[in-house]
Symmetry: C2
Subunit: 246 residues, 2 copies
């Protein structure tokens, strides 16, 4: 039996990371949903960076750069973390490298980057990722990006969904209370995630910014099968032969 | 509308404490259950201290002292945080001051001690405490003691139960995702808490120590009506005229 554990935010990573070499990073609203979507729709690779300054440096070198803070595209950039924007601009972005920094998601990736394997999860690639993890059969730490280091509902639902699938496979056990909690929150939410997240602080934030279409997209499970994996600092599409049937 | 928020562990207190002057500290297994029980059964006041050394100093001065670490009574003490022990020794402890240090609970009290009002919650005093908080109608931060800074299931269930009661009163709103999560975890667990907590890491720890009777006691809602409140460094029974009908 392998272990699956859930860490609610980057601030708690140090309490959980010991013994894990495989980390799944989740930021449902919207960074990791956008990353899965961008790679799925033709972006060649994504360079996640922790700061806006770093994104500007890459931009100055001629790279396509995306930056989001507090739900909005940062001044001087014309892309943020809207998955729908990556679909709309798929033609133009095909084969490109995109550099991206976001409020929470890229920080979580940054904190996990020294682990042997870092993959990107979202509700959008839920079944594909869960199947790959079950098949891989290795201890899994699921890291939610949270909201400015606080617990966050949508990442916990997604992390709980992955944990639930792994536990249900019979090949993983949950040692931590946070994992059990995530599983039950997912089960409370799954039949109507949009309504469940009415109370989510971040969904309120995005609604104020007229991003309901993005939120609906991010809360749609399994609309793609791409699993981004970190290789030498870049997120790339997990090779098909390592992936699960689409 | 007042706010009710849930903070899962002392490590996150700094992210949540701003704007709150009333904090409820919870350590269901077993510190705060034992504190409610001790005061309910005749202990005059309780001095929570953060370290074993401090408890020893008070003990040397002639005070009754209790110390627990990792579920066990610390060597040199004959009391820990077993609520049942406080009931069994009620005669002898009547009117006494008891000094106590525990793995998580007294640390959480210590971190909250500069707030204007610190009260102690457990499943044992759930309805009495919730009624008092609703009546008081002030912003409430509920602080779970966690397990060595990690999220913990039983404190979250209890905190979620209090939050649920406050929100249901129509006089409180929940701003934080953690509060919504706590509410749903409580609702998933309430019909069979003992079974729900099978997976709880701390319950496993206590079972190994043959403390199932204590666990059952701690998971019994509303078997007492005492609300401990921190006054000048000592926990005392909230005066009856400020409390709710027993």
């Amino acid at each position: 039996m392998k272990r699956v554990e859930l860490c609610f935010s980057p601030a708690e990573f140090a309490l959980y990371e010991k013994d894990f070499e495989l980390v799944v990073v989740i930021d449902v609203l919207r960074a990791t949903s956008a990353m899965c979507t961008a790679l799925h729709h033709g972006v060649e690779r994504i360079r996640p960076v922790a700061s806006v300054e770093e994104a500007r440096e890459w931009q100055a070198k001629g790279y396509v750069a995306a930056a989001e803070r507090n739900g909005e595209v940062v001044e001087g950039f014309d892309l943020g973390n809207s998955p729908i924007a990556y679909i709309e601009r798929a033609e133009e972005l095909k084969g490109q490298t995109v550099v991206i920094t976001t409020t929470n998601g890229t920080k979580a990736i940054d904190i996990a980057r020294n682990k042997r394997t870092v993959v990107i999860g979202a509700l959008n690639n839920l079944d594909a990722l869960s199947a790959w993890l079950i098949d891989r059969h290795e201890d899994v730490l699921i890291l939610g990006s949270g909201w400015k280091d606080k617990f966050n509902l949508e990442d916990t639902i997604c992390g709980g969904a992955i944990a639930d699938a792994l536990i249900e496979s019979g090949r993983f056990r949950a040692d931590e209370d946070s994992t059990v909690a995530g599983k039950f929150i997912y089960r409370s939410a799954r039949d109507n995630m949009f309504a469940f997240l009415k109370a989510s602080s971040h969904r309120r934030r995005l609604r104020r910014l007229n991003l309901n279409a993005d939120v609906k997209y991010c809360l749609t499970p399994n609309n793609l099968t791409t699993i981004p994996i970190l290789q030498d600092g870049f997120l790339v599409k997990l090779p098909v032969h390592e992936g699960t049937p689409a």
